[in-house]
Amino acid sequence: MTTGKVKGIIANLVTVAVDGPVAQNEICYIFVNETRLMAEVIKVIGANVYAQVFESTRGLKVGDKVEFTGHMLEVTLGPGLLSRNYDGLQNDLDKLTGVFLKRGEYNFPLDEKKKWAFTPIAKVGDKVEAAAWLGEVDENHQPHKIMVPFVFEGTYTVKSIAKAGEYTIHEVMAVLTDADGVDHEVTMVQKWPVKKAILAYREKPRPFKLLETGVRTIDTANPLCEGGTGFIPGPFGTGKTVLQHAISKQAEADIVIIAACGERANEVVETFTEFPELEDPHTGRKLMERTIIIANTSNMPVASREASVYTSMTIAEYYRSMGLRVLLMADSTSRWAQALREMSNRLEELPGQDAFPMDLSAIIGAFYARAGYVYLNNGATGSVTFLGTVSPAGGNLKEPVTEGTKKVARCFYALEQARADRKRYPAVNPIDSYSKYVEYPEFEAYIAELIDKEWLPMVNDMKTYLQRGKEIQEQINILGDDGVPVDYHEEFWKSEVIDFVILQQDAFDKIDAVCPLERQQYMLRLVMDICRHDYNFDIFTDVIDYFKRVINLCKQMNYCEFHSPEFEDYRKKLDELLAEKQLKK
C-alpha cells in the first residue's frame, strides 16, 4: 500500500508527499501520535496529495505518517442497519464510549454476533447477477434481502446456498461461480463506495404513485410521489423541521432514513427520544424499527458532513434494491453545500456565486438523480423518495443552492415567513408551491383509480379559490372593507375557509397531526361544497362573523376522531349553520 508523510496543514486540509500511486477520493489514515485520523484525497498535484481530514487536525505535525487504503469512502451494507444511529462516516454512535466524541474512534457499523433467521430464495444452479436476491432475513419485520454484491460484474451460477437457519453476518451464505469457473463466497455483508450510485435495476420510470404523508397541504394540494423528489426551502423559524419531522413520522414508507446534515443536535435528539416511543401509523410498530438516523450535526466535523448525505443515499439505494419503499430526508442540503464551499475555498479554487464551487448545481443534480422509482431486474419495484430542505441565506430564494435544487427537484414546498409570522402552520405557501407530478398523465390515471376522476380538478378548483382570495385581499387592502362589494368578502372568506381547514394543520395535536387520505377527501369535499355555494349577506361584517363560525366548527372537526360522535355533532352544527345562509343552487 502507498504511504506518505504530512507536508503542510491548513485547518483540515493536509498536504501529503506520497511514495506510490493514489486515487482521487481514496481514503487514507493520518497518524497523530497513536490516533488514526480518516481523510479523503481531494486533489493530486505531482507527488503532493491534498486530503481533507474528517476530524480536527489539532497537534498534527509535518512528517507525520500517512497510510493509504486503496479504496474510496465506503459504507458497510447488511442486516442490522435499521434502528441505528450513525455519524456521517457510518460509525455507530451508540457503540462509542464517553460523553464526548473522541477523534480517531471508528467502529464497525453492524452487529457481528447477532444471528439472523435466513431463508434461501435462490437455488443451486440459478444464474444470478449483481443485486439478485439470494435469500432473506427478517430485519425488524422487513424482508431484508441478502443479495449478490453490487460490485459483482457479469453472470454467476449459484454453486451452493445456505439452508434455512440462523447465521451471523460474516458466515458464508452462498458460493457463486463466475464465467471463468472461479468461486466467490458471499456473506450477508457487502461494501459500496458512497459516491457511486447503485445502478443494479432494470428500469427507472417516471414516478406515478402517490406517497401519502398525512399532511394535507402536501397530499391534497401538492402531492409527492413514491420515488419522487422534493425540496423545502425556508427561512429559519418557518417550521421547516417540524414539517419534515411530521413527514418522516407519517409517510407511507417501509424504511425512513433521516440525514441530519449540519443541523442542530437537539433536533436529532428529539428524533432519538421520540421515535422509539412513537408508533408507525401504518403498522402499529415503533417508528424507530423502520428508521435509520445519520447524524452529522453542525458541530461535528465539516468534511464528514459532506460524506453523510452520500452515506444516507447509498443505504437508501441498498434497501430499494430489496424492493422496499424508502424515504430519505436530508436536513439541510445547504449545510452540505457549505461544506463543499469550505473545502473549495481551502483548495483555492476560483469561486462561483457566493463563493460556492462552480460545479455546485451539477453536484446537486447528480445527487437528486439517485432517487427514483425502479423496476428491479426480477420485476419487483422499489423506490427512494428524496426530500431535502434548503436553508437559503437571508431567506433569499435566488441563492445558488436553492436555484441548483429547483432545477432538479420535482416538488417545491415554499415555506413563507409571512405565513409563519401569522402562525399559519405548516407555513407552506399554497400558490407558490408546486408538484410537477400532477401534470403527469400516469399520476392522473393512478389518482383516478385510487380516489376518483374528480379529485385533481377539484384540487385545481381549490387553488383557484385561493388565488382569487389572495387577489381580493389585496384589493380590500387598497380599497378598504366597504370599498368592495359584499361578494368580494364572501369570496375572500371562502379562501380563508380553505386555508384554515385544509392547509393549516396542528402538528402538535394528536389527532390533527395525521390526516389519512380518506379523511382528506372528506374534508376537501366538505370545504369545496361550502365554497361552491352562494350565500345571502347584506353587509360585509356579517360575512366575516359567519365564516369565522364556519371555520371554527370545521376546525373542531379536525380536532376530533374521524366520524366520532363529537365529530358528527360538529358536522350537524355546521350543516345547520350553512343552511341559515346558503342559497339553493
Partner: protein, 441 residues
C-alpha cells in the same frame, strides 16, 4: 516563559497585520507560541514554514523576535476556584486575584456525542412573559437576542440571568464597552451572586483578535461545571457580532476568499461549534446542562446579513426586543421572536392551556396590527378591529412589558381575562374543552 529544553527561533520571514511566519520544525497544528512574549497560535504549516496568528496584533514585532512554541493548544485551568472571578481572553485573572489552580484543559474541545444528549425538558423561568409565555426557554437551549445596538439587551440579559436560578452563570464578553463590563460586575455583586459567576471579558480596549478565544474559554469552564460538577450552567455571550467580525478580520489577513457579506465561508461551522456546546445531559451522566443566551447585534435591523442569518439557522430560536409605542415600554416582540424548544415544556411543564392561549393571543395581536395598518391608511375600523386594538394594548401593558415579573399561571389567567373582556369564544379559536374550563364566567 521559555523552559530549558525549548528551542527559541529568532528568524521571522514574513509579517502581516495579524500573522507572522518563520521556519520551524516539529510544530503541531493549533499549537500556541509566544512571539516576543505576545501569545500566538499556529494557523498554517507548509513544509518548514509555520504561520502564526498573533492575538494582540503584530505591531512592533521585529524580524528577530524570539519565538517559543509551547507544545499545547490554548487551554484553561479549571476548578471550583473559577467561581466569582474575572478573566481576560487568555484565562488570566483581571480582578487582581491569584491565578487559578486546577486541571489544565485545552479549549475548543470535542463535541458531545449526540446519543449521549438528553432532550431538553426543564423550563427556565424568567418572569418575562414575552419569554415565558410566548417563547419559553428550556435548559440546554441556545438562543440569541437579535437587537439593535441601542436596545437594552445587556440589561435584559442580566435580568434573565439573575432570575433563571442557574447554579453557575458564565459571562463571555466580547468587545464589551468598559461601561457594560462594569454594569455586569455591579449587577452581579449587588445581587450577591458573585460566587455563582465566572466572567471572561474582552473589552473594546483589548485587541479584537483576542475575542476569538472568549467563547471557547467560557464554554470550557461551562463544560467543567456541567460535566464534572453536574451543575445547571447558563452562559451569556455578548456580543457575537463582534466575534464574527474578528473571524472576518483573521480570514481576510489569511487571504481567504470571502463569501456573503465579507464573512469567511466557514462562518456557519464556526458559530455552530460554539452554540452547539449547549446541552442537556441525562441523569446517568449527572444531569448537568449548558444553556446559552447570546446577543447578536444587527445593523439597521437587517436579519438577512450573514451573521444573524447563520446564527438563526443554528440557534433554537431568537428573541427580539421592540419598543411598543402604544404603551411606551420595551417588549419582547411576539411576532418575530421564537423559541423552538417551547413545545417541550409548554403545556407539559406548564398548564395545559398554555400552547393554545399563547397562539390565540398572538393571533389576536396580529389582527390588531392589521387593524392599526388599516387605521393608518384611513379606513374605517370594524367593531372587531377596535376590540383587537384594545386587547393588544392591555396585552402589551399587563403581560408583555419586560418590567412585568409574574409566573406563567398568572400570565395565562390574565390572558383569559383579556379574552373574556374583549371577545366571544368563537373569535378566539381555542379548543372547546379549554374554553369550557377557563373562559371567565
Amino acid at each position: 516563559m521559555a523552559k530549558a529544553f525549548q528551542k527559541i527561533y529568532t528568524q521571522i520571514t514574513a509579517i502581516t497585520k495579524a500573522t507572522c511566519s518563520l521556519k520551524a520544525e516539529g510544530v503541531g497544528n493549533d499549537e500556541l507560541a509566544t512571539v516576543n512574549g505576545k501569545l500566538a497560535q499556529v494557523v498554517k504549516i507548509i513544509g518548514d514554514e509555520v504561520t502564526l496568528q498573533v492575538f494582540q496584533g503584530t505591531e512592533g514585532i521585529p524580524t528577530n523576535a524570539e519565538v517559543v512554541f509551547l507544545g499545547k493548544a490554548p487551554s484553561l485551568k479549571v476548578s471550583d476556584q473559577l467561581a466569582g472571578r474575572f478573566f481576560n481572553a487568555y484565562g488570566e485573572p483581571i480582578d487582581g486575584g491569584p491565578a487559578v489552580e486546577g486541571k489544565e484543559i485545552e479549549i475548543g474541545g470535542p463535541s458531545v456525542n449526540p446519543v449521549r444528549r438528553k432532550q431538553p425538558s426543564e423550563l427556565i423561568a424568567t418572569g418575562i412573559a414575552g419569554i415565558d409565555l410566548n417563547n419559553t426557554l428550556v435548559s440546554g437551549q441556545k438562543i440569541p437576542f437579535f437587537a439593535d445596538p441601542d436596545q437594552p439587551y445587556n440589561q435584559v440579559m442580566a435580568n434573565v440571568a439573575l432570575r433563571a436560578e442557574a447554579d453557575k452563570i458564565i459571562l463571555g464578553g466580547m468587545g464589551l464597552t468598559n461601561d457594560d463590563y462594569l454594569y455586569f460586575k455591579n449587577v452581579f455583586s449587588n445581587a450577591g451572586v458573585l460566587d455563582h459567576i465566572v466572567s471572561f471579558v474582552n473589552t473594546t480596549e483589548n485587541p479584537p483578535v483576542e475575542r476569538l478565544l472568549i467563547p471557547d474559554m467560557a464554554l470550557t469552564a461551562a463544560e467543567y461545571f456541567a460535566v464534572e460538577k453536574h451543575e445547571k450552567v447558563l452562559v451569556l455571550l455578548t456580543d457575537m457580532t463582534l466575534y464574527a467580525d474578528a473571524l472576518a478580520i483573521v480570514s481576510n489577513r489569511m487571504d481567504q476568499i470571502p463569501s456573503k457579506d465579507s464573512m469567511p465561508g466557514s462562518l456557519y461551522s464556526d458559530l455552530a461549534k460554539i452554540y452547539e456546546k449547549a446541552v442537556q445531559f441525562p441523569e446517568e451522566i449527572g444531569g448537568g446542562s449548558i444553556t446559552i443566551i447570546a446577543v447578536t447585534t444587527l445593523s439597521g435591523g437587517d436579519i438577512t446579513h450573514a451573521i444573524p442569518d447563520n446564527t438563526g439557522y443554528i440557534t433554537e430560536g431568537q428573541l427580539y426586543l421592540r419598543r411598543d409605542s402604544e404603551i411606551g415600554k420595551v417588549i419582547v416582540d411576539p411576532f418575530r421572536s421564537l423559541s423552538r424548544l417551547k413545545q417541550l415544556v409548554a403545556g407539559k411543564k406548564t398548564r395545559e392551556d398554555h400552547p393554545q392561549v399563547m397562539n390565540a393571543a398572538v393571533r389576536l395581536y396580529a389582527d390588531a396590527a392589521n387593524a392599526k395598518t388599516k387605521k393608518e391608511n384611513g379606513f374605517d375600523l370594524t367593531d372587531y378591529d377596535i376590540r383587537c386594538l384594545d386587547f393588544a394594548r392591555d396585552y402589551s401593558r399587563e403581560i408583555l412589558a419586560i418590567d412585568v415579573n409574574i409566573n406563567t399561571v398568572q400570565m395565562l389567567d390574565v390572558a383569559w381575562s383579556l379574552f373574556g373582556k374583549y371577545f366571544k369564544p368563537e373569535e378566539v379559536n381555542i379548543k372547546a374543552a379549554l374554553v369550557e374550563k377557563y373562559w371567565p364566567k
